[in-house]
Amino acid sequence: MVSLQAAVESAAPVSRLHERASFDPADFPVPGGREEEWRFTPLRRLRRLHADGPLDAGKAGVEADAGPEITVVAAEHGDPRLGTAFVPADRVSARAFASFREATIVTIPGGVAAERPVVIRVRGEDAGQAAAGHVLVEAGANSSAVVVLEHAGSATYADNVEFLVGDGARLDVVSVQDWARDAVHLSHHHAVLGKDATFTHMAVTLGGDLVRLAPSVRYAGPGGNAELRGIYFADSGQHLEHRLFVDHARPDCRSRVTYKGALRGDGAHTVWIGDVVIRPEATGTDTYEANRNLVLTDGARADSVPNLEILTGEVVRAGHASASGRLEDEHLFYLTARGIPVEEARRLIIRGFFAELIGQIAADQVRAKVTAAIEAELDAMARAEGGAR
């Protein structure tokens, strides 16, 4: 737990990271790499998405599949519904909003319970040309729905996804980054929760050369409940970065952040940043964030930085945990002492490490797919070790 006293003495967040906001990309200088929000990201691998490379030449097809009770429409730039859940807080987000050609708007009408998951597929066709995208999911008051975002193929892609979760609504989002190995994806997910709304967000990041996903949550009324979860598995050379931001500015809201990752191979790099701010007016806040990383081989690196800023003394709970380490020798000993070969024991432990989070994935078919993807990672691991021996 964090000592409250020091934090309570100042009324504004010490961190200014999320305070700067503008729709004009020119308001954000081109990052040089030393800035707090960019220092973990290898800028030279961003293909100038963060600078001034063109964002309108590439192609990334967006398709949506939804039940008849759900409305899916394409929207032009300038549609007043777009850009209400957020104001860009960095240059890439602002550039993506300025550059997308067509947005997808998904509307779940008030009071409607979607019968099957809404699936939005983003398919990249060429990593050589950069593209920008935009999706808005509007969940009406007291509605409930599962939305799956699937990213696949080769792309250099920057996008914003907005989630407007109405009063009393429940929205479960699963975002799967299963890109081809050459993809670069910089993404911002912005959720705004109405009074007593529930929002769950599961990021599953497996593919790509570099993925940087920044999910954020704001509360528009009291009683909101956000569960942000993530699973990632980085192989040799992959950079997978997740930057969470939960802004508690209303009373009696709850947030839970749970991210787990595994890394193996030379140059596998994961970054997890968990920023949680509890503003003076957010009394009765209940928040906990945790990140765990399994570093399976030498040469892999996991950065994990929880930041919890508490500006009121009247919280229910505010805590964080972060741990990165190897597989535990005692776990391996216990399983191998029962005759289980060491490779299989490792698989059991790694599967077990992810099991709880996978069990919480809202959509059955995605759960099966993620399970299969983790198994494929474990097979690749076994092959790599077999070859090394």
Partner: protein, 256 residues
């Protein structure tokens, strides 16, 4: 008939600053199928080190001596090979393994030890039967291994594994510690059921004589200062019950 033979076993652990500390100082012991041996000794005498060294825990380094099972060199085997060769260690502090269910773990271990996967239906029937005999609630099959189990529940699960894996020689490290009298009876009955077979041998490591009322040893060895200082039949346990370890503590360091 299986025989576990320990000869002149010396074992060290890494201490601070690259130094190592010798824990076992020449252990000689033979456990044959059809026998129950009890090793009794005060805390810190090295009883658990003996158990973990035989199982192959990486923390312990064998500096000299030999361990064989039916003539095969146990010390040359990996941890999982020792288990598949027919050795079993019931641990004093079974670890919690998140996300791995009891049923999945048991099936994987049984498959490894038997060399082929049991049919699911038969496996479930076998597991449920063994769990019922140990008064383990069926819901435990779907719980994560040892996670949130009480001390007594963990020990029952060690005996459940013993019965499912059916080793030649079982080493039970303080299986009686932390058990109330009811759990002790259930666990002892489980050990006796296993030991009933003439093909099975038991090496029971304990600090107290309490469990020996339920699991009757054929041989009792008193362990002090990293080696066996006295041997006898069940009457030796009765003496320890009456007089404690004091007489034997003086024997530490004396030639055996």
């Amino acid at each position: 008939m299986s025989t576990l033979e320990i000869r002149g076993l010396h074992v060290s652990v890494a201490a601070q600053a690259g130094e190592s500390r010798e824990i076992l100082r020449g252990v000689d012991l033979t456990v044959t199928a059809g026998q129950t041996h009890a090793i009794m000794g005060p805390n810190g005498s090295g009883k658990s080190t003996l158990a973990y060294s035989i199982a192959g825990h990486p923390k312990y380094r064998v500096t000299s001596g030999s361990v064989t099972l039916d003539g095969r060199d146990v010390l040359a085997m990996s941890v999982d090979e020792r288990a598949r060769a027919g050795l079993f260690l019931a641990m004093q502090y079974p670890v919690e393994v998140p996300g791995v269910t009891v049923s999945n773990f048991l099936r994987t271990a049984v498959t490894a030890v038997r060399g082929e996967a049991p049919k699911l239906r038969e496996f479930v029937r076998e597991m449920n039967g063994a769990m019922a005999a140990l008064s383990i609630d069926p819901s435990f099959a779907q719980r994560n291994l040892n996670e949130g189990f009480s001390g007594g529940e963990k020990k029952r699960h060690e005996i459940l594994q013993l019965q499912m894996l059916n080793p030649k020689i079982a080493i039970l490290d303080e299986t009686d510690s932390g058990l109330d009298i009811d759990a002790l009876k259930v666990v002892s009955a489980g050990i006796n059921a296993y030991r009933q077979s003439p093909d099975h041998g038991v090496l029971l490591i304990t600090h107290y004589t309490r469990i020996l009322r339920y699991v009757r040893p054929d041989f009792v060895h008193v362990f002090v200062g990293g080696r066996i200082v006295a041997e006898g039949g069940p009457e030796l346990a009765d003496e320890l019950e009456a007089s404690g370890y004091e007489r034997f503590l003086a024997m530490e360091g004396a030639p055996a």
